[in-house]
């Protein structure tokens, strides 16, 4: 009995080790293509927190108060327009619930530029 348990224990340890190696390799592989700084800012709950309201490829558990952020190049050929929406969408649409990230100093101009860069990759 004790022997059997010992063997099972050993097997479990071995499986855990293999899993750990595989996971580590996976983490290593993804580390080779680091997220754009704008992606980090966009997904950070204390910064853009865009996923609270928008579905964005690469983000988990998105909300749906705003439209999915996809095909950005097609939808916003004018970068100024997209930047303006992030800066203060209430200018275009007074009823929007989108926070005015620039006007209310939630994000700096540089952070908004970085997020806009990232959005053009979606």
């Amino acid at each position: 009995m004790r022997g059997e348990r010992g063997t099972a224990h050993g097997t479990a340890l071995f499986v855990a080790a293999v899993v750990a190696v595989v996971l580590f390799a996976g983490a290593h592989a993804s580390a080779q293509t680091p997220a754009l700084p704008g992606q980090v800012l966009a997904f950070d709950r204390g910064k853009g927190n865009c996923l609270t309201c928008h579905d964005i490829k690469g983000g988990e558990a998105p909300g749906n108060l705003g439209p999915p952020l996809a095909d950005i190049k097609t939808r916003f050929p004018d970068r100024k327009e997209l930047r303006g929406i992030v800066f203060d969408e209430t200018k275009r649409n007074p009823q929007t619930v989108m926070p005015p990230f620039g006007r209310n100093l939630i994000l700096t101009d540089g952070e908004i530029e970085a997020i806009v860069d990232f959005l053009y990759t979606r």
Binding site: T52, G63, L65, Q95, P99, P100, N104, L105
Partner: protein, 288 residues
């Protein structure tokens, strides 16, 4: 003074007009205070938006909006996490203060089955009295220290009082008294005014976006939103009162919360409760 007041009045009128135009405030004319017309517009807005939600189901908040969430709720509700609060509240009601009086002595019907009548306008003091405020005034009148408004003992007391009132339709009265109408109107304006760094009003979520998701959370409709109070929130790992909900809402939009039971918060509760007239008390409730 007169000029600044006039400007403030114009600003408020414009603000409400803008909201009405876009449909954010389902209300009647902005220049007169007409709670009954507001009530009809508010009710019509939500029932039109959710034609398949039975009227009395709005008190179940996000569960009335989302089938999957409702299934999880029904599973949890076999052993509701607020049960301990009801038991504790019941015990507190049965225990006398040091002077021999009880909570029941402070309320009509000994405090049983009366939750649906709160808040009410007190024509003697000219202010809105909520259940939480009345409970602490009861304690103080009997020589006891007031409780924190946001959770623990206060939530246990209101949980028990709500439980004894379950199913009773909200019956909030706004007497034809300019002070009562002003309190109602201030509550409505607070509810629809944007605030905080994130620039949200209460209505941004609970009127403009009920049923929608912020991350995985389903936003509750403003219609019936007071009915389940107090609530056990998983996010809080415990019970919270109406006061707690208002304070956390303000913080979440990076605004500055008022003090629990501030006059304005009571006015907001007055407005929202009047909008829920006719809907059944469902508290205490659970929310994710």
């Amino acid at each position: 003074m007169r000029i600044s007041r006039a400007i403030a009045s114009v600003v408020v009128t414009m603000m409400i007009a803008a909201l009405v135009v876009a449909g954010a405030r389902p209300a009647a004319a902005a220049d007169t205070i007409d709670p009954d017309a507001d009530f009809k517009a508010f009710r019509a807005y939500f029932t039109k938006l959710f034609p398949n939600v039975p009227l009395n189901d709005f008190v179940n908040g996000p569960y009335s909006m989302d089938a999957e969430l409702r299934k999880q709720w029904e599973a949890i509700d076999d052993f509701p996490p607020y049960d301990f609060a009801i038991d504790r509240g019941k015990q507190m009601f049965a225990t006398a203060f040091k002077n021999g009086k009880t909570y029941g002595d402070c309320f009509p019907e000994k405090g049983i089955g009366i939750r649906q009548n709160y808040p009410y306008f007190d024509d003697k003091t000219g202010e809105v009295i909520t259940l939480e405020l009345e409970l602490n005034r009861c304690r103080e009148a009997n020589g006891e220290e007031p409780y924190s408004y946001v959770k623990d003992e206060m939530a246990s007391l209101t949980a028990y009082m709500a439980f004894t009132s379950r199913g009773k339709p909200f019956d909030i009265k706004i007497p034809n008294d300019p002070r009562a109408l002003a309190a109602y109107q201030k509550g409505a304006e607070y509810f629809y005014a944007r605030r905080g760094q994130l620039n949200f009003s209460c209505a941004s979520c609970h009127v403009q976006n009920p049923g929608n998701h912020i991350r995985t959370e389903v936003l509750a409709p403003a219609l019936g939103i007071v009915a389940a109070m107090p609530i056990y929130r998983s996010e809080w790992s415990g019970m919270g009162t109406m006061s707690r909900r208002l304070v956390t809402c303000n913080s979440q939009v990076r605004g500055v919360p008022l003090k629990p039971q501030d006059e304005l918060y009571r006015d907001v509760e007055y407005y929202l409760s009047y909008m829920s007239n006719g809907l059944p008390v469902s508290g205490p409730g659970t929310r994710p």
